[in-house]
Symmetry: C2
């Protein structure tokens, strides 16, 4: 079982309209309303591929109940810890040209007691897991060391962690040596101060002794491990980039629990990410798209780099 | 008891942000999330003023359950008929300059069977009512004669109706002679083709034999009855005009069941409407504002006009 953690779960609402008019009334058509947050998207993708998964995290209020019910309705095993605050709603309006306007609540403020209760729940669940995925932004009130604490708790149980985070949360998590981190180009730059993704990934990998899979948008993925540096890319596609990174994480998680190396996971990760871009909403793919896109993925071994393995 | 009818009930969400950025991600603060739709706003105002009220209408799905629960939590007696479709959500983002950007779902498509079931529920409830308020737009699937049918059903029970509607729904309702209609300037123009509000109100009043209270924004209210034509206005206020018309309707309804003439209701209607403008969200007023604003309302008798009474 893969455990996904979503500390700031959301109701994600996506609308379509011909033209978006600020300072006016926009009549819109509902495209989808679903449970969201990066970890939730990963859980939904893993479940859709038949991978046993438990979605945990923090959720509160009527929105929190809606999120848990929506995931359960879709067949995902949900074990959220309740918080007193109301979980956030995000609203995305996509116009005919594909431009997306997002309105995003900040979500609940989590108390120290609620965080302690979640950490206890996580300790219990991670003991049953083959891998834990820690994805997305932290709600207010949760310490910047939240993912670091969860990575440490997972290691205590002999369970590896994949971390998809930003800024101080990512930096703190790195100190606890997760199995792999998945920053994008901006996140790499913010953590290292280095513009070049390969140099930045290499600095993170060697400094902290972790594996790095960087998602570089249309340029595909860059894997840095102690044994290999590989660039993986597919045909450039236009579509909805939201959720593409979650598809990468899901592919890495699914491959890892199958016993694949990260290099083995790259072809799936690029194909799944590209298939996610073709969908209107995050956390869904059409498996026919994945099969069609997979053979077009190019892997380029840049170096047998890094430190000695 | 006053019965309010809301055929396209909504979850109304209002956000605040410093600057609204289209085609970008806007982090917003939640101002309020509450049950909405014009009839629901009227019901909440009447309840806040201690007037016995039942809120009925159509609501569906998880959003419909949320709407009913929200009203019940606020102490309003709710008797919605369930529909299979999902009730709509409206999202309003107000920036620092007061500009409002609205994203509005269209709401459910109502089947003929659902409409028939609601009409039976309405017949039952209106028999217990002193007055019925029919407010707001019609959902898809409901006939344009919906309010006309409900006005006729109310009259069958000896119960008067206040109609706040637009276009074909208003035109059809007029044929059934409700006690009063409350168009705004645009609605008056659309129904009569006449620009001047007084001339338009007079045409509606004499043609259909109904009373007219027209809401003219900052210019206040215009009452046309067979016995009197009165202009009522207060000090111009800046604020949120959403819900000002609902406050007018609530004041007319509350006064009417107390036995007041419509002319007697005008001072309250202007003061309540102005107090509503001072609130961030529709369907709420501060009674201190009402008391402060009431003495400033000016009534101008334009003529003892209309037809012979």
């Amino acid at each position: 079982m893969i455990l996904t953690v979503t500390l700031n779960a959301a109701i994600d609402t996506t609308y379509r309209t011909d033209r978006f008019a600020p300072s006016d009334t926009n009549r819109v058509d509902l495209v989808s309303r679903q449970a969201g947050g990066k970890g939730v998207n990963v859980a939904r993708l893993l479940h859709a591929w038949g991978q046993p998964v438990i979605a945990t995290g923090l959720a509160g209020g009527a929105a929190g109940r809606w999120i848990a019910a929506d995931l359960a309705d879709r067949g995902v095993d949900v074990r959220f810890a309740a918080v007193a605050g109301e979980s956030r709603t995000t609203t995305v309006v996509v116009d005919a040209s594909g431009e997306a306007t997002t309105v995003s609540e900040r979500g609940p403020v989590v108390s120290p007691e609620e965080w302690a209760a979640f950490r206890a729940l996580h300790r219990d669940l991670v003991g049953q897991a083959a891998l834990v995925v820690l994805s997305g932004s932290l709600p207010r009130g949760v310490p910047a060391t939240a993912y670091a604490q969860l990575v440490a708790d997972a290691r205590q149980e002999g369970v590896g962690a994949i971390v998809d985070a930003d800024g101080p949360a990512l930096r703190a998590a790195l100190e606890q040596r997760p199995y792999v981190v998945k920053p994008n180009a901006d996140e790499l730059r913010r953590v290292t101060g280095i513009d070049d993704p390969l140099a930045a990934a290499s600095v993170i990998g060697t400094s902290y002794g972790v594996n790095v899979v960087a998602s570089l948008g249309a340029r595909g993925l860059l894997l840095w491990t102690a044994d290999a540096v590989v660039q993986a890319s597919g045909s450039p596609l236009t579509g909805n980039p939201t959720g593409a990174g979650d598809a990468v994480v899901a592919a890495l998680a699914a491959g890892t629990v199958r016993g694949d190396t990260l290099a083995d996971c790259l072809r799936d990760a690029v194909a799944l990410s590209a298939a996610a871009v073709l969908q209107d909403t995050a956390g869904t793919v059409d498996m026919d798209d994945v099969r069609r896109l997979r053979p077009g993925v190019t892997l380029t071994h840049l170096a047998a780099a890094g430190r000695a393995s």
